[in-house]
């Protein structure tokens, strides 16, 4: 007997016990759909819920097995034991290693990887160092480097509410015309982030992950690379993505009018208008 007021979404979530960077971790992942594996990476200080729109859209899931995982310290993935004695700082090497380990653990055969912001940066590292492992790479809000434009210490200090300041920092990165419902859902994820986690991710984004001098060596013959960037993003700007497009032969890039830094979360419907043709290209390439 169906109840028209109730809908169970097609997304399933599970936990994986896995060693990452030589430490035991309990990692949350979720998936929906069947077909070509599409591994999605969330932004700094957020979690897999950013991809809820994609995972609930049959136009995506009828051809793609969409998988997302919460990075350790994020969402429902706990930090490793002993976290209270350390300062979390994401590095390029650890981040790429975790993506490859998750790909192997979940038995994903040459997945497409799509990442946003820090995820959009790490796909450049994957393209440079691990291209043959992947069928395609999609960078959302990809830039080779971002200089900090505020004092990152504001993100983690006991006399400022971490969740509220993190949401305040990123609120302007949402496109001004994105639906209020999705804007505030996106900001809620930031408000729920653990103390110091957003700041720790930004270590990769603003320091360790600088890839400016290497991007021209990315070989898109080994693995195709697509770049989509929102017009209103002032963190990873359209100019940053244009620089990548000019520097990486064979890359395809597009600026998404009206959108901000969180396309899949801030306005999933509008984002799919840009993404679906690209996924069709992936599918046709086989």
């Amino acid at each position: 007997m169906s109840n028209p007021t109730v809908e169970i979404e097609p997304i399933t979530g599970r936990y994986l016990r896995i060693n990452l960077n030589d430490k035991p971790h309990r990692v949350y992942f979720e998936e929906a759909g069947a077909g070509i594996p599409l591994l999605c990476l969330h932004t700094a200080g957020s979690d897999t819920r950013q991809y809820r729109g994609l995972m609930n859209d049959a136009r995506v899931t009828k051809h793609f097995r969409v998988i997302c995982f919460d990075l350790p310290w994020h969402g429902k993935s706990s930090p490793p034991a002993g976290w209270h004695e350390e300062t979390y700082r994401l590095s390029s090497q650890d981040y790429a290693g975790m993506i490859i380990a998750m790909t192997q653990a979940l038995g994903l055969d040459r997945p497409v990887v799509m990442g946003c912001s820090i995820g959009g940066r790490i796909v450049l590292h994957l393209a440079l160092h691990h291209a043959k492992r992947f069928r395609g790479l999609i960078g959302l809000q990809s830039g080779a480097h971002v200089d900090p434009y505020y004092d990152l210490d504001w993100l983690h200090r006991p006399d400022v509410h971490g969740g509220e300041v993190c949401a305040g920092i990123v609120s302007g990165l949402v496109g001004p015309s994105s639906p209020q419902e999705h804007r505030w859902e996106t900001l809620w994820h930031y408000m729920q982030s653990g103390p110091g986690v957003f700041k720790g991710d930004l270590h990769f984004y603003t320091a360790d992950g600088d890839i400016r001098k290497d991007v021209s060596r990315i070989n898109t013959q080994e693995c195709p690379l697509w770049l989509l960037t929102g017009e209103y993003d002032y963190s990873c700007t359209p100019d940053d993505t244009a620089f990548l497009g000019r520097s990486i032969p064979g890359s395809k890039w597009q600026i998404m009018e009206g959108m901000g830094h969180f396309p899949m979360s801030e306005d999933p419907e509008r984002f799919l208008k840009f993404l679906l043709p690209l996924l069709e290209e992936v599918r046709m390439a086989g």
Partner: protein
Amino acid sequence: MIDVRESLDRLPDRFNKRLRLVQHAKRLNTRFLLISGDTSFRLTIAGGMVSAVEHGPFVMGQWDFVIQADEDTWKKFWSPTPPPGFHDVLALSKAKRMSIQGNIYPFMSNLLYFKELLSSVRSQESH
């Protein structure tokens, strides 16, 4: 055309109706200077409400922090559909079109509040 002085004079009426924001900031008491080109305004926040908008120049004035931009920048920021880069104070700050200086603790510890306060000058339709 946006008149900066007129827009700021209307700010208390417009913003203080937003009761959830005001109540959430009930412990916030601060004064800041908003500079538009050569013109300055001192805004006083008392218990989360905008209690005064005073027009400069100020002789021996006091405030916690200063937000400064040229008049054209404020007008673009407050336009119904701001162009990219003019839609948010941090976007303006990153582009060095706006400076936020002084004791910025009240500003940063109430960042969402101040973003809502400053953008509430924008027409309601675009909000």
